[in-house]
Subunit: 146 residues, 2 copies
C-alpha cells in the first residue's frame, strides 16, 4: 500500500527565492550571494543534508528500544561534496553530490559494537538514505503552459 | 574543484523532533501524530520533495535567459510514493521513495516545445534531480560514543 507525499513549489518574483509548502510546513529557499541569490533562505544542497540527517535521527528514535539501545543524546555531522562545474555547465561532471559522509555521535552506555550494528540498521532503514543510495525514478508528468 | 556542504543535526530530548542547521539556516523536523510524532515540524519525506522542487526552480531562474525563456510565474507540483511497510520492517520492499513525479507550470509566451526542451535541461542539470535519479555514495565515517 503506497503512501503519497506532496509539495507545492512556487518561484517568487525576484531573484532565486522559492517558496515551498509540504504537509502544512513552509520552507523558503534561496542561494547565497556568491551563487547569485540573496541568502534569505536555505539553499537546496545544504537542505538535502539536513533532511538526510533528520531522517536518520527519526529512525534512531523509532528503533532504539527494539535494539536495546539507550542514548541521552544523538547528533550527526553530515557533509557532501559536489563539483560546481557540473551545474554551471563548465565540465562533463555530474551536477549532483559525488559523495555524502555522515558521522554519528551517541551519548550512551551501550557498547561501540552495539552502536555500530544499530548505525548500520539506521542507514539501511532510513527512507532518505535509501532514496539517495539507491536512486529514485523521477517522472515529469507534464508541462502546463498558462 | 569540489565544494563541500555541511549540516549539523541534533535529536531533541522528547519524541521525534530533530533540530538541524545548515549554512546558517535551521529547519525543525518532526513526524505527524499518526507516525508517532507531535507534528511540530516538517517530516523528512515531504521536505525532500520541497528541496527537489526548489532546486529545479532555482535552476530555471539561472538558465532561463540562456534558453530565451521568459516566464512571469513558475511553479511545480511534486509527489512521491513510498510503501510504509518498508521503513516499518513489515515487508521486503525498499524503505525509500519508489517514484517521484513532478509537473511544471509556466506562465510564459514561449512555445510548448521550447518549454519542454527547457524542462528536460532543468531535470538533467538540477543537482538534487541528479542526486536522486542517479544515486549518491553514502559513507559512514564513524560512530562516536560519548
Amino acid at each position: 500500500m503506497l503512501t503519497t507525499f506532496t509539495s507545492k513549489v512556487t518561484k517568487l518574483k525576484d531573484g532565486m527565492q522559492v517558496d515551498t509548502e509540504a504537509n502544512g510546513f513552509k520552507i523558503l529557499f534561496d542561494e547565497p550571494e556568491k551563487m547569485g541569490g540573496t541568502n534569505q533562505g536555505i539553499n537546496p544542497m545544504s537542505a538535502l543534508l539536513s533532511v538526510l540527517g533528520a531522517c536518520q535521527a527519526i529512525v534512531a528514535s523509532m528503533y532504539a528500544k527494539k535494539f536495546n539501545i539507550e542514548f541521552s543524546d544523538f547528533s550527526l555531522e553530515i557533509e557532501g561534496d559536489m563539483d560546481m562545474a557540473g551545474v554551471m555547465g563548465k565540465a562533463e561532471v555530474r551536477s549532483g553530490f559525488q559523495e555524502i559522509r555522515f558521522k554519528m555521535h551517541f551519548t550512551s552506555d551501550n557498547t561501540e559494537e552495539e552502536l555500530k550494528t544499530f548505525a548500520k540498521f539506521i542507514e539501511k532503514t532510513c527512507p532518505i538514505s535509501d532514496s539517495l543510495a539507491n536512486g529514485v525514478k523521477l517522472v515529469n508528468t507534464g508541462i502546463i503552459k498558462n
